[in-house]
Point group: C2
DNA sequence: CTGAAAGCGCTTACAG
DNA sequence: CTGAAAGCGCTTACAG
């Protein structure tokens, strides 16, 4: 345990120098000089000394006495995803002006690590939390009791991107169902009659909603609901070969799909890659729609559902701050609209 | 300023319940029971009560008295980049077991924001900092006095990925020069005689080193140093069209380049895109090498210099902790080796 | 082996 | 308008 140099300036010293009491300094620092009718000249002297010496009240002492840290915790499965970056940007857009600091931590798709990280943040006295929680693969045991405990506790929480069953909470999500519906409808309008659904086999609200949106579009177009062979599910492990096998089998069937709707960008890229190995180019030979935008200068040829991530971050932070002050109910749900990116659906096979 | 519920359990209460003094509890909690020869039975009772009531000493009180926060700050220009994610992973690999928490913040390529964010972290009492600092475009005014001030201060700092001139500091970087040399040498071995260098026009050690490595390779192969028309520089703004214009002009010249070495992945993708619009495919018509790995299932066809980011994170954290304890000198420089990824250099034009 | 006491740097009733 | 005093929850000499 090393010792750090003591803060050079303390309130005590400052007060002594100016010949006033610490109370007076503290009051002026918090902008309460009018309320306590402190002589303007005194207040002025204090302000000048503070500015000149670069004095800032010790964070730990302030937090200890005020029971407020000015920090909000942000927990995501990973930091590497445009998703993350943009949501964080939105959050910071809001927290910064409000004099809060966003403290980012990652749970790396590990519920145990998630629990640990949340515990750390709580211990560090965060005033609120924004969380994109982990989700289990179907059939996987998943213990989210730490989230339930958290939501029952005193610290305000806003979930982003996904909601939790069985427990009331505040959330900000995108219109997953509507986006999936629009994207699928576009595939159908381009001539597809046998779209194939590809997704992570993961049990989470956003994915469920996207599947529902996919089915909505089929129903609206009077296309019969897909058989199980047109629902392809895969594990998150990018190196798993389950998708490869399923896809090969499906494409060699006598009535192969004539388009793809994929729920996530990563799996879409993998699907596109696997198809290309079978000699099928997207979108030339077969069109594909998916959630997520293309990175700059790397057009994937897919129809992209653009997600309003920055906006989601802003709204989540906004909602959290309102929950902290009590201005918003802690079970408010916000759904952000999505839109289709300008698309390439040229030459669909079924057209 | 809302009030949070007070922590339910305090050391005082715990001591009262057990009929011992707070000192005894504190000592046992810090594992000093042997040193102070506290009766094992007493220590045992205390440990049990602590575990059973889930007591943890108040963070702010502990930090206030111990002058140690257990937090290390991590500041990067952006969170969205594989670079970031991997370095953070490496950092957490090290800090977690050592009972430190990594607190991530972003400076968004803005020196002013960088200064603010660093200030925030210092105010929050971080025990050390790991920073990938911002860098100016050539000719741009750049004030990094906040970094110089920081490096002269009491808080240990390790810079990653790039170093600073004019000021001693600790750093962990990759072998930029060696990687660029190897990549360029590979282009030359594949038959290139007029490689073109493309880079961000940015004044930072890593980029300078890559250019030097590029020139090293040419010199070693007895190829004359490139003329200025084979050094293409562009701004960071992904929508800038300076590169597009320069590239078109260069490719329509009578002796166009027969390969490309690009310093960063983003610019490489842009270059590849612009070439494809001129009808040139990478690597079929023209080979390209660059720093950074391809994302999964999106082979770019480029020769990639794989960067040891996780390792860099680990070493940076390691070095920081050693600097904190005084075990390492605060001006230690570490260079991590890089390697070429299995490559596609097929059918180079000049071969 | 253990406790009373001072101290970390700030906030906040409470007197005047 | 301003100060003396108690308190936030912990740590750490110091005395026994």
């Amino acid at each position: 345990m090393m010792e750090k140099l003591p803060d050079n300036v303390t309130m005590k010293r400052l007060a002594q120098q100016l010949g006033v009491s610490r109370t007076t300094v503290s009051l002026v620092l918090k902008g309460q000089e009018r309320k306590y009718r402190i002589r303007e000249e005194t207040a002025q002297r204090i302000r000048e000394a503070v500015a000149q010496q670069g004095f800032r009240p010790n964070y730990f002492a302030t937090a200890l006495t005020s029971r407020r840290s000015g920090v909000i915790g942000v927990v995501f499965p990973n930091v590497f995803e445009a998703f993350m970056s943009e949501v964080v940007k939105g959050i910071e857009d809001v927290t910064h002006p409000a004099d809060y600091t966003a403290m980012i931590a990652t749970s790396r798709f590990d519920p145990l690590l998630e629990a640990r990280v949340l515990d750390q943040l709580l211990h560090r006295g965060v005033d609120g939390l924004i969380i994109a929680c982990n989700a289990p693969f179907r059939g996987e045991p998943y213990d989210c009791s730490h989230l339930h405990r958290l939501l029952s506790g005193p610290v305000p929480v806003v979930l982003v991107d996904r909601t939790l069953r069985d427990h009331p909470h505040a959330s900000v999500v995108q219109d997953d169902r509507g986006g999936a519906r629009k994207a699928t409808a576009a595939l159908l309008r381009a001539g597809s009659r046998r779209p194939c659904y590809v997704s992570l086999d993961i049990d989470v609200s956003s994915i469920r909603d996207r599947r529902d949106g996919f089915l909505d579009a089929l129903r609206e177009a009077n296309i019969r609901q897909p058989r199980s062979r047109d629902i392809l599910l895969t594990r998150r492990d990018p190196d798993a070969d389950d998708l490869s096998l399923a896809l090969e089998k499906r494409m060699s069937h006598r009535d192969p799909p004539d388009s793809f709707f994929v729920t996530t960008a990563g799996i879409a890229m993998k699907t596109r890659y696997l198809l290309s190995r079978m000699g099928l180019q997207v979108p030339k030979n077969i069109p594909m729609a998916r959630f997520g935008a293309d990175p700059p200068y790397s057009p994937s040829g897919m129809l992209c559902v653009e997600q309003p991530h920055v906006d989601m971050g802003r709204r989540a932070a906004q909602l959290l701050m309102e929950t902290i002050t009590g201005a918003a109910r802690p079970d408010t749900h916000i759904v952000c609209p999505v839109r289709l990116a300008p698309a390439h659906l040229s030459r669909s096979k079924g057209a």
